[in-house]
């Protein structure tokens, strides 16, 4: 199974089980099983970000992934000093960011300037009833795009990040059908968007 299908199977799966294929999710950059807990940086004041962070926490807790959380405002996440202080706290750590597009760009660029590598980055566009996700992995040449209902869209995202973090010891139930890619779904006049990403600092 190539990396693309592996990620799609993560998106489809219901539980984290055991499969050597999980190793494919963790890129060469991204050694799993590090002792440092994952840092989840969530932007405050964005309800969709709150929801996604909460779901990540639940999925990580269920999967036994150690994590800590930091909250910051949009202003703080676009401020050099604040981001650098945050990055200084996490050398060697894996960071998941959940924030708006501007904050995500600045956060990732400041991290990259300090040598950070990005394993996954996903854009989420919210419409009235559904959410369109567009995920790019360090190991993919094109993005994976799919849509979920607004009510439970965070579930797959939680599994995606958990599966990527969990590494070869953990696993994926691949019995569920692979997520269907829908590159042209969702209109452009939609009420908001969000970016999530996984980097090593």
């Amino acid at each position: 199974m190539d990396r693309r299908n592996f990620i799609k199977s993560l998106l489809a799966s219901g539980v984290l089980g055991s499969s050597p294929l999980a190793a494919q999710a963790a890129s060469d950059l991204f050694a799993p099983g590090t002792a440092q807990p994952v840092l989840i940086v969530g932007q405050s004041g964005l309800p969709h970000a709150d929801e996604l962070v909460a779901r990540l926490e639940r999925v990580f807790a269920a999967a036994g992934i150690d994590y800590v959380q930091a909250r910051a405002s949009g202003g703080e996440l676009t401020d050099y000093t604040h981001v650098i202080v945050l990055l200084d706290r996490v050398p060697g750590r894996r960071v998941i960011g959940v924030m708006d597009a501007a904050a995500a760009l600045i956060f990732q660029e400041l991290a990259a300037a300090r040598g950070a590598a990005c394993a996954l980055s996903t854009h989420h566009r919210f419409a009235a009833q559904e959410v369109r996700h567009c995920c790019i992995s360090a190991g993919l040449d094109t993005s994976i795009v799919w849509s979920d209902s607004l009510a439970d869209h965070a579930e797959r995202i939680g599994r995606l990040y958990a599966g990527t973090l969990a590494g070869p010891e953990s696993a994926v139930d691949r019995s569920a059908p692979v997520v269907r890619e829908e590159p042209d779904r969702a209109a452009d006049a939609t009420p908001g968007s969000l970016v999530s990403f996984l980097i090593t600092v």
Binding site: D28, L29, D79, A102, A112, A117, C118, A138, D188, T190
Partner: protein
């Protein structure tokens, strides 16, 4: 199947293997990247191009000029082209990706020494990997009375990189190439050229006198692929005793004429000395809002809705941000002149005292016009979301009628594609850099295609009126070069052949090929 994600055009994999092995000998394996994962940072772009067309084959990271010379020997041997970047934060113009597929990114971020800062003569000599933030911190730590002139991505951008791209900032030193002095350039054959006085052995005037003797060469190493600039002298502004930023708001779209006619004589006479900005209402709104929170209709936001939104949010249809610099006494005198002029033109002049301490739009302009680093303007990327941005940047005379004409032309084309006119003019001495941010959702194929077609049409229609861009992105470099005419292209090609006969330096940069 190749083990590389791309190969340089015309280079066999076996030869590329040998080149990579030699790079590893020179730099160590950790500084030679060729897996897709490791190259991911160089693949990320915001412009509406297919990344496959700009995929690098590898990235290599030297830390010295001597290593660059050795790299170029390998490149000449195997005909493997390199695409030099300083920090690669050329966001709306192509980020770090090369103009053509398969080039090796020559990432110069490890050449990050601040070689000298002279507080008396007010200059710095820096390498490509030095960021504005690094230089800012250096100056602050030593309490030197000097100001920088960063562009918006300052904390991660390179003064050398921005200057050789002929970027701009917002202080009186806003035209960066104008305020540079002396380059060190590694040529394709490994020779090291120091421009201006730098060619003179034992000279101590390299960073204070631009011209040296004979033809002045610095310009040919900007926006070009004739050499790799490895050191640059930049002049730094002495911190003035006093500083007074202000904004002038105009209520109607047609007021761009009054605004420019008022600001031009003040700028040419240096009463207003800095590269301030004249931004439209949507620019102001887009920095601090999401589009969907303000407007949910189809297509570009109509003028009437923009006018209503501007009024509701307390911004002008046009907003002139500029400043006075000097002593309290000179500023007091100049303040009388500028307020009289702007008020007579129908503008409302506002200062920090009028706006209070928490106006985000005023505050970030206040900061950048005094050389502080802030990325607040990146709030633009939340306007639509989706990570798409492309700068269309035609040059205009600093004449009201011309800016009005350019605005009309731009809006007509942008609106046809359903794209908002989010624009500003940077106030040059006699010109205006008209900067339009084409914001779109890069994750939607239809929007990506629309943004690309829109840019293409903007280039054509502006060129028909005699307007050229001062800078473009990696996807349109050939086209823009062609718009500047055959003679210029021919001269560029001749210089290229003379200095880089194997075409190993950044083929396609600014439309220049061997």
């Amino acid at each position: 199947m190749s083990k590389y994600i791309a190969l340089p055009k015309g280079v066999a994999e076996a030869d590329f293997d040998k080149a990579i092995a030699e790079f590893k000998k020179i730099l160590g394996a950790d500084n030679v990247l060729h897996s897709r994962e490791r190259l991911a940072p160089y693949l990320k772009i915001m412009i509406p191009a297919q990344i496959e067309e700009h995929t690098p084959s590898a990235a290599i990271m030297p830390e010295s000029v001597e290593q660059i010379q050795r790299i170029l020997r390998v490149c000449n041997r195997y005909k493997t082209p390199v695409w030099p970047i300083s920090t690669g934060k050329n966001f709306g113009y192509g980020s770090a990706a090369p103009a053509t597929r398969g080039q090796i990114v020559l990432d110069l971020k490890r050449l990050n020494r601040i070689i000298e800062v002279d507080p008396d003569l007010c200059y710095a000599l820096v390498e490509p990997g030095v960021t504005y933030q690094q230089l800012h911190d250096y100056i602050k730590e030593r309490n030197l009375p000097l100001w920088l002139d960063p562009p918006i991505p300052g904390p991660v951008a390179s003064p050398l990189g921005n200057t050789v791209e002929r970027g701009v900032g917002y202080t009186p030193y806003g035209e960066h190439f104008l305020f540079s002095c002396g380059m060190e350039v590694v040529l394709a054959n490994g020779d090291i050229l120091r421009t201006g006085m730098g060619s003179m052995p034992n000279s101590n005037t390299w960073q204070v006198f631009k011209w040296g003797y004979g033809p002045s060469l610095d310009g040919i190493f900007t926006q070009s692929n004739f050499g790799i600039v490895t050191k640059l002298g930049i002049w730094l502004m002495p911190a003035p005793p006093a500083y007074k930023p202000f904004v002038v708001r105009y209520p109607d779209q047609g007021d761009i004429v009054k605004a420019i006619e008022t600001v031009r004589p003040l700028r040419i006479a240096q009463v207003i000395p800095n590269a301030g900005t004249v931004s439209n209402a949507l620019w102001e709104l887009a920095v601090v809002n999401r589009r969907a929170d303000l407007y949910t209709g189809e297509g570009a936001i109509p003028d009437a809705s923009v006018a209503k939104l501007a009024k509701a949010h307390g911004v002008g249809s046009w907003n002139v941000y500029t400043a006075l610099y000097g002593t309290e006494e000179t500023i007091a005198e100049h303040w009388k002149i500028v307020t009289a002029a702007f008020k007579a033109s129908g503008g409302t002049v506002l200062t920090q005292e009028d706006l209070g301490p928490d106006d985000p739009l005023f505050n970030y302009r206040r900061d950048v016009m005094r050389g502080d680093l802030t990325m607040r303007e990146f709030g633009l990327y939340n306007w639509r979301g989706g990570g798409g941005s492309m700068w269309f940047a035609p040059v205009s005379q600093a004449r009201g009628s011309e800016t009005l004409k350019q605005m009309g032309l731009a809006k007509r084309i942008l609106n046809k594609y359903g794209i908002d006119y989010v624009g500003l003019f940077v106030i040059g001495w006699r010109d205006m850099h008209h900067i339009i941010d084409i914001l779109y959702d890069r994750t939607l194929p239809a929007e990506l295609a629309k943004a690309r077609s829109c840019y293409d049409e903007l280039l054509d229609d502006f060129a028909r009126e005699g307007y050229g861009v001062y800078r473009t992105n990696i996807d349109f470099m050939d086209k823009v070069a062609k718009l500047y005419g055959p003679v210029k292209a021919s001269v560029n090609r001749k210089i290229k052949k003379a200095l880089d006969p194997n075409g190993i330096l950044a083929p396609g940069k600014s439309g220049i090929h061997r």
